[in-house]
Homo-oligomer: 417 residues x 2
Amino acid sequence: MHRRDLLRAAALFPAAAWLPRVPSVAEAGAIARPIPRAADDEAYWAEIRRQFLITDGIFMNTGTWGALPLPVLEAIEAHMRAFETVFHQVPFDVHAFRGQLATLVGVPPETLAFTRNTTEGMNVVARGLDLEPGDEILTTTQEHVGGRCCWELVAARHNLVLREFEPPVPAPSEDALFEAWTSAVGPRTRVLSISHIYFSTGAIQPVRRLAEWARARGIITVVDGAHPPGMIALDITDLGCDFYASSPHKWLLAPKGSGFLYVSPAWIDRLWPLVASGGWDDLALKGDRFDHVGTRNDSLLVGFQASLAFHNAIGTERIERRSRGLATRLDAGLRAQPLVRVVSPSAPEVRSAMVSFQVEGMAGTDVVRQLWTMGPVRVRHVAENNLDYVRLSTHVYNNPDEVDRVVGMVGEIARNQ
Amino acid sequence: MHRRDLLRAAALFPAAAWLPRVPSVAEAGAIARPIPRAADDEAYWAEIRRQFLITDGIFMNTGTWGALPLPVLEAIEAHMRAFETVFHQVPFDVHAFRGQLATLVGVPPETLAFTRNTTEGMNVVARGLDLEPGDEILTTTQEHVGGRCCWELVAARHNLVLREFEPPVPAPSEDALFEAWTSAVGPRTRVLSISHIYFSTGAIQPVRRLAEWARARGIITVVDGAHPPGMIALDITDLGCDFYASSPHKWLLAPKGSGFLYVSPAWIDRLWPLVASGGWDDLALKGDRFDHVGTRNDSLLVGFQASLAFHNAIGTERIERRSRGLATRLDAGLRAQPLVRVVSPSAPEVRSAMVSFQVEGMAGTDVVRQLWTMGPVRVRHVAENNLDYVRLSTHVYNNPDEVDRVVGMVGEIARNQ
């Protein structure tokens, strides 16, 4: 009914006549420019930087949420304003968009459902599996609450066991992480709940190897993939995990409240949806069974689609090279400062675009506060699980100069404490 | 961390200097005007009508979603644009807003949680109660999928019984509805799942009497309250139900994807959250236990707050008188047309601001299609549960002239079939 209305409206009125005039970003005091196709140099990245509204500071907390590119902001506003005319709405094809997203993350489209965030996706899985009393979920002491609390709840409610082990920090290598996991598995372990990239240190875990190992033993792998999409190249099918939950409002620069959940073909007909509405038990619907959650905000999905287009216009490979390259520069700079202890991996293949550190003798909150005063630099204090790290994220809107300035500030803070 | 950052940013920069320039609606081709305080006449309502972007048609489907007032649209855009500067964000106090919403709906603030919509709220309840195999949930054959499917799922998964009875249509009186419910209750009935206002016919159910009756018998009352907030005066505490789920993106004209759930004090410490994140088991948090759902879109909540302010500027009593008054005019007009059978109640105290009808000898889809061609008039076809109704909603942006024109069109459609 709704979709038909939209198509009918589109057919009735020629676009030019009915599309309401949307204020351009130029009118709003900022200029959206075409994304250049030039070489991967500072001029290119400076042009990319102009697509953002970030002003008067250094933003290094993409790990919490990414800033919206202007075309994304404009897409949301244009969709909302057209929608509110009622009779001049712009049709949005959620299935076409799902196909585009599926291409980015390497899965069949029908295995994806849209969520608000990783936390919701992880809860869909935890609440949707039929585990038995005594079954064990294994995870680590470095998890984000969004990936851990869902298991705490089902453990408390259904007499399951949630067991955590301490992974090596800093992670010395992929092998060390792999061995820490496999040696922690016990006879009742039914589920591995794995952060693809640790929110705490940015360490990249060997999900592909772990999923293969687990599959051979009948153990389910659930991945908290909040960070990878938009930061690193991702092929979820190749990873071979059973479930993958993500928050594209971080590195993919999608609107806040954007998420997706991958449910592998082996589980798509067996998992119970978290929110049941029309079609919840119609197995022919595949991923749509998890996507009928009542009225949500399509304008945000339109923005999500625009952020994917922005990402693709630059290219995954180029973005990954840039963001991880800046992190490598940041890592090297921080290690050269006295009293600074980097807790992120030193091996570049295990380190992502997040670098966490501590300053000897100082509380993390003090470091965060001083960076805010000196910059301002906006960073993340990791206080969860009794940790005390300062986390820096580097993305397409950052540059080497910002990295060097932040390294200089950290050195000064450490020396002057 | 996040909230502290915001406050810090607010302290660092004087507002005038840092607030990014947001395009006004005047620039966007529409004029937001102050809401007049004048008398309840057509000039007043014409001024209200100018606060909306609705163009080139008659919008009578508020029962699906309401159109956004311009100040709401502007509030969303201003918050988003400020947020994306990173260093010039406008703090949003979600607890203050919750207090304002609590005042509107007559509950203690700590009993409210924000959701996306009624469907989600109903699922929170269905999945959060510890029911026993064999326990029966009683509801009717006129429910919206968003209020029914959650029970279907838990019934299938946990061997509960979902039983439906057919309520009287058209509903002759409150007494008749009350008696239909109470006589349908059986010995194993544990839950009544009640639509406060039927999505299908707009009939208002006697929730207060039903809740009192049920409470005396240890039966839980769960209310699908998608429609009342923003349409009629609402005092949930006075209703005395255990749970109340709503979709303020309908009659309260909040952004799409706005919802709230009321959990009565008796249940606030006992219900399991649907999405578990930090604090899910901290009973001191009360409603916040259900509100920690990971990153969501605060700009939409800012819009929700603006829509509540818009509502309050007009006043609940005035809005209810207007929207129900238009429905009464519509009802009378439709009843005077040959071949038109109104399925909404004839008694004004049971009829809300939604009027549903059938045209003898015609499929509802044909009527809907012809109204679209002739108006366009945007209405709702109710095809669920093997029903075939055409539903019209009347709200603050409608007026007597629109009502009369639609009545005329329906008469013409019926005569010319």
